[in-house]
C-alpha cells in the first residue's frame, strides 16, 4: 500500500469515526492543548465536585476505576482517590474508629459485632481542587498549577520531586509516583472532562454518591445540590477554597 493511499484511508476513517468538530478537536487533544480545541473552551467551565456521604456504600469501585483509568500503582500509598470508613460510638464522639484498608481498593471487611449501636458511614476523598491551593502556592517551579477551568494539575515533566506540595496539602491527596519520581494526584480526569465525559470515579459509582460539577454551567445539578442541602468542605479552617462539597459531612471527619 503506498503512503498516499494509507493517508487517504486514515483520513476517511477519522471522518467516518469522528464527526467533524470532534475530528478537529482530536488534533488539539493529540497536541496536548485541549483548551484550544473548538469544542472545549476553558473559559466556559469551572470544575468542582459534589459528594453525597449518605449514598456511599464503600464498595471501592471509584478507587479501582480511578487506578485503572489513570494508570495509578495499586499500592495504597499511591492513591488519587480513596474511601474512609468511620465508626463512631455516640458515647465517645471524640474517638472515631477510622480505617481505609488498601485505600478501599477492595472495599471494606465486615467490622464485626459492636458492643453498642454505632454510627457508620463512608467518606470518599480525592483532591479538593481548591481555588486557593496551598500546593500550588508552594511549588518552587510552578509544576503544580491551576488550570483556567479550575482544576489543580501537575506538569510531571517539570516537577522537581521536592515534595513540598505533599507537605502543604492538608488533605493528604498527593504522593510521589515511584516510577517517575514526580508528584501525582487526582487530575479530575482532565483528559476525560475536556472531551465531555465525566470522571472515571463518577462513571463507575453505582449509587451516584460522587458527581463532577461545572459551576459555570447553569444547567448543572450542582446548583440545586448546593441550594437544597447543608453542605461542607473538609477542614474549612484551612481556607483553601476547596471546591469539593460534601452533603452530610459529620463533624468527626478530618
Amino acid at each position: 500500500m503506498n503512503k498516499d493511499r494509507r493517508a487517504f484511508i486514515v483520513q476517511v476513517g477519522k471522518i467516518l469515526v469522528l464527526t467533524g468538530p470532534a475530528a478537529a478537536a482530536w488534533a488539539y487533544i493529540r497536541e496536548d492543548r485541549p483548551q484550544d480545541a473548538p469544542s472545549y473552551r476553558v473559559t466556559d467551565h469551572w470544575w468542582a465536585f459534589a459528594i453525597d456521604i449518605d449514598k456511599c456504600i464503600g464498595c471501592g469501585n471509584c478507587v479501582r476505576g480511578c487506578k485503572a483509568e489513570n494508570d495509578v500503582l495499586l499500592e495504597p500509598q499511591t492513591s488519587r482517590t480513596w474511601v474512609e470508613r468511620y465508626i463512631v460510638d455516640p458515647a465517645d464522639l471524640d474517638h472515631p474508629r477510622v480505617d481505609s484498608p488498601n485505600a478501599a481498593y477492595d472495599g471494606f471487611p465486615d467490622p464485626g459485632p459492636q458492643e453498642r449501636p454505632v454510627k457508620t458511614f463512608y467518606v470518599p476523598k480525592l483532591c479538593n481542587h481548591c481555588a486557593n491551593s496551598p500546593c500550588v502556592q508552594v511549588c518552587p517551579v510552578g509544576a503544580t498549577f491551576d488550570s483556567p477551568d479550575g482544576v489543580v494539575l501537575v506538569d510531571g515533566t517539570y516537577c522537581l520531586g521536592c515534595r513540598y506540595c505533599i507537605q502543604a496539602c492538608p488533605y493528604g491527596c498527593r504522593y510521589i509516583d515511584p516510577r517517575t519520581h514526580v508528584v501525582d494526584k487526582c487530575s479530575l480526569c482532565y483528559h476525560r472532562i475536556t472531551k465531555g465525559m465525566t470522571t472515571a470515579c463518577c462513571e463507575v459509582c453505582p449509587t451516584g454518591a460522587r458527581a463532577l460539577a461545572d459551576l459555570k454551567n447553569p444547567q448543572d445539578p450542582i446548583h440545586e445540590f448546593l441550594r437544597l442541602n447543608k453542605v461542607a468542605v473538609l477542614k474549612p479552617q484551612m481556607a483553601t477554597g476547596s471546591k469539593t462539597w460534601y452533603k452530610g459531612l459529620d463533624g468527626a471527619v478530618r
Binding site: S100, C139, P140, G142, L160, G161, Y175, R254
Partner: protein, 389 residues
C-alpha cells in the same frame, strides 16, 4: 506496610522528608550562626573574639557550600533544580530561598572573605611558586594593588558587607524557619515563632561550632587557647541559648495552654515516639545541661583549664541538641497524620541515596572544605608577616 498506628491517610504511608532534610536546616543554621559570631567583632566591636573572626567566616563558607547538597540529593529530579532559578514560582517560599541563598553566598560571604583576605592573597601570590602561584593569582583576580588607599577601601567595603551580612544572615536562617513555619497544613510547623526560633538556635549552633573548632585547631597547632576569647564566646553562647530556650518554652507553653485541635495528637507524639529525641536529647542533654554548665561558669570562680573543659563539653552537647531540634521539627512534623488520628514511623536507612551514610558524608564534607580553605587562606593571623605597603 508496617510502622503506623491508628488511622493515617493512605498517601501518608510514605514519609516524605528524611534525614537529609534534617541536615539542611542544621547546616544552614551553622552558617548563619558562624557569620553572626564573626560580625560580633567587626560590627559590634567585641575585640575579644577576634582570634575566631576569620575562622568563623571560613566555617560559614565551608558549610554554606555544602548546604544545598542534601536538598539536591533528596530531589526526585535533581537535574531540574536549576529551574528554581530560571523559572521560579514567586509565591513559593522554597523558590525564593534559592535567591536568598545565592545572595548570601555570592553577595555577602564570598565578597566579604575576599576583601578581608585580599592583601594576604596578593602577598601569597608574590611569595609562592608553581601551581599555588596560579591559584593565588586567580584568587586575587589579577590585582596586586596593596597601596594604603586600596587597603583602606578593602576594610571599608568589608565593614559595609558585614553590616549588610548581619541582616542577610538573619534572613537566611529566618527564611529556613519560614519554609517550615508557613505550612499551615502542619500544626507542628505552623507557627510565626518558627523563623525566630530557627534564627536563635542557628546563632547558638554557630557559636558552639566555631568555639569547638577553635579549641580543636588550637590543640592541633599546639597553640594556647586565648582564654578571654573562649570566655567571651561562651558568654555569648549562654546569652543566645537563654533567648533561644525562652522562645521555645514560650512556644511550648502557648501550645499547651491553647490546646487547639491538634494538641492531643502532638502531645501524645511527644510523650511516645518523640520522647527520646525531644525530651531527653534536645531539651535535657542538648539544652538544659549546657545552659546549666555555662551558667555555672558565670556564677562561680572556676580555674581556666576546667572552664575550657566545660566549654568543650557544653559546645558538643549544644550541637547535639540543635541537631536534635532540627530532627524533631522535620521528622516529628511527619510522624503524625494530618487526620490527627494516627502516627507513622521514620525508618532511617543506611546505604541508600537518602540514608545515614550519605548524611555522615555530608556532615564531614564541610570540615574537609574548611581544611582546604584554611590551607589556602590561613585564618590565624599571628604567624603572618606584616603586610608590606
Amino acid at each position: 506496610m508496617q510502622g503506623f498506628e491508628g488511622f493515617i491517610y493512605p498517601n501518608e504511608l510514605e514519609l516524605q522528608w528524611g534525614v537529609l532534610i534534617v541536615l539542611y536546616p542544621f547546616i544552614t543554621g551553622l552558617v548563619a550562626g558562624a557569620f553572626i559570631l564573626a560580625s560580633l567583632e567587626r560590627v559590634f566591636n567585641v575585640e575579644a573574639v577576634k582570634p575566631t573572626y576569620r575562622l568563623a567566616l571560613l566555617t560559614a563558607l565551608a558549610f554554606l557550600v555544602v548546604a544545598p547538597l542534601p536538598l539536591q540529593l533528596h530531589l526526585g529530579h535533581p537535574q531540574r533544580s536549576l529551574e528554581m532559578y530560571l523559572t521560579p514560582h514567586t509565591t513559593s517560599a522554597m523558590a525564593m530561598f534559592g535567591f536568598v541563598y545565592l545572595w548570601y553566598l555570592m553577595a555577602v560571604l564570598v565578597l566579604e572573605i575576599w576583601f578581608d583576605y585580599r592583601s594576604d592573597i596578593v602577598l601569597a601570590w608574590q611569595r609562592s611558586t608553581g601551581l599555588k602561584r596560579i591559584v593565588y593569582a586567580l584568587m586575587a583576580l589579577g590585582s596586586r594593588n596593596l597601596s594604603e588607599a586600596a587597603l583602606r577601601i578593602d576594610d571599608r567595603i568589608g565593614r559595609f558587607l558585614t553590616v549588610i551580612g548581619v541582616p542577610s544572615a538573619f534572613l537566611l536562617h529566618g527564611y529556613v524557619g519560614f519554609i517550615f513555619g508557613s505550612v499551615k497544613a502542619n500544626p507542628w510547623w505552623s507557627t510565626p515563632m518558627m523563623p525566630i526560633v530557627f534564627l536563635f538556635s542557628a546563632i547558638v549552633s554557630g557559636i558552639a561550632l566555631v568555639t569547638l573548632l577553635y579549641f580543636v585547631i588550637s590543640w592541633y597547632r599546639k597553640k594556647q587557647v586565648d582564654q578571654e576569647c573562649a570566655d567571651t564566646m561562651a558568654r555569648y553562647l549562654l546569652y543566645a541559648f537563654l533567648i533561644d530556650f525562652s522562645l521555645e518554652m514560650l512556644d511550648l507553653i502557648q501550645r499547651i495552654y491553647e490546646a487547639d485541635e491538634s494538641f492531643k495528637t502532638l502531645d501524645f507524639m511527644v510523650q511516645t515516639r518523640l520522647y527520646m529525641p525531644h525530651i531527653i536529647v534536645q531539651l535535657l542533654i542538648g539544652t538544659i545541661v549546657p545552659i546549666a554548665l555555662l551558667g555555672i561558669v558565670q556564677l562561680f570562680r572556676i580555674r581556666p583549664a576546667v572552664r575550657r573543659l566545660i566549654y568543650v563539653v557544653s559546645c558538643g552537647l549544644t550541637l547535639i541538641g540543635i541537631f536534635a531540634m532540627r530532627w524533631n521539627v522535620v521528622i516529628g512534623g511527619q510522624l503524625f497524620s494530618k487526620s490527627f488520628l494516627g502516627y507513622t514511623t521514620y525508618k532511617l536507612e543506611f546505604a541508600t541515596r537518602e540514608g545515614l551514610l550519605i548524611a555522615i558524608v555530608l556532615l564531614v564534607l564541610p570540615f574537609l572544605i574548611l581544611a582546604g580553605l584554611a590551607y589556602l587562606l590561613p585564618p590565624w593571623q599571628e604567624e603572618q608577616e606584616p603586610v608590606q605597603g
